[in-house]
């Protein structure tokens, strides 16, 4: 059964996202939270890695964290889905384990 990977760091200042994407298996889900959400910005240097991962994984962002950082739904890489805290709970419940990339 698959894994939920959470990433709470900016990909512009750390390896959490690249390691999470590099170690996620097909069918896994990656959820960007806290400062990690900035990695899902369209046109950023991290966008390509996210787009490539969307072929085999689901990629989510935590909506409240996106909004706090002044980003809107249309700013996100297309294919990335937004969830609220209840959605985060569902993701954790629906995957066999949660792996936090701190």
């Amino acid at each position: 059964m698959s894994t939920l990977h959470t990433v709470n760091k900016s990909p512009f200042d750390g390896t959490s996202l690249s390691s999470a994407l590099g170690l996620a298996l097909p069918g896994d889900a990656v959820l960007l939270i806290e400062d990690g959400v900035v990695g899902a910005r369209k046109g950023s240097s991290a966008a390509k890695a996210i787009e490539a991962s969307l072929a085999s994984c689901k990629v989510y962002v935590l909506g409240p964290d996106v909004a706090a950082r002044g980003m809107k739904a249309e700013d996100l890489v297309s294919g990335v889905e937004s969830v609220d805290y209840a959605g985060f709970v569902d993701l954790a419940a629906n995957h066999a384990r949660t792996q936090s990339w701190l």
Binding site: E34, R41, S44, P64, D65, G70, D84
Partner: protein, 133 residues
């Protein structure tokens, strides 16, 4: 003001994920009373501190982004933003809050200056004190 020191506040972290942006701003506001020459630099993830449209309703945070807009009232007029940091993050100056200040002669002068990395290096080299956050 001839013996005033040049203070630079160097901001390199995104807001909310850590408290450094908020507590840096608290130093800037207190420091304004000391009549030194104050500049703020936004480099790396620090540029997110100036993002327009920050909405903290869902996250439980106090939205302190309007405080940046009030910096002009504290005579803090120089907010340097590194262009390379914006580019890497898919951002432009249009994504940032409009921040202005008044002088004795003019009103609504822009406070944000987008500068190249080379220009930022020069700004930094002219400071007496650099406070890093």
């Amino acid at each position: 003001m001839s013996d005033a020191k040049k203070f630079l506040y160097l901001n390199r972290k995104a807001p909310y994920g850590t408290i450094y942006a908020l507590e840096s701003l608290e130093v800037v506001l207190i420091g304004a009373a000391f009549e030194q020459q104050v500049s703020l630099a936004f480099v790396d993830d620090g540029v997110y501190q100036l993002m327009a449209g920050q909405n903290t309703k869902g996250s439980g945070f106090k939205n302190f982004s309007n405080t940046y807009k009030a910096l002009g009232d504290y005579d803090v007029r120089n907010l340097y933003v590194e262009k390379e940091s914006l580019d890497e993050r898919g951002l432009s100056v249009d994504d940032l809050m409009p921040i202005t200040h008044d002088t004795d002669d003019e009103e609504d002068l822009p406070s944000i200056m987008v500068v190249s990395r080379a220009e930022m290096a020069k700004v930094m080299s002219e400071q007496d004190v650099v406070l890093s956050f």
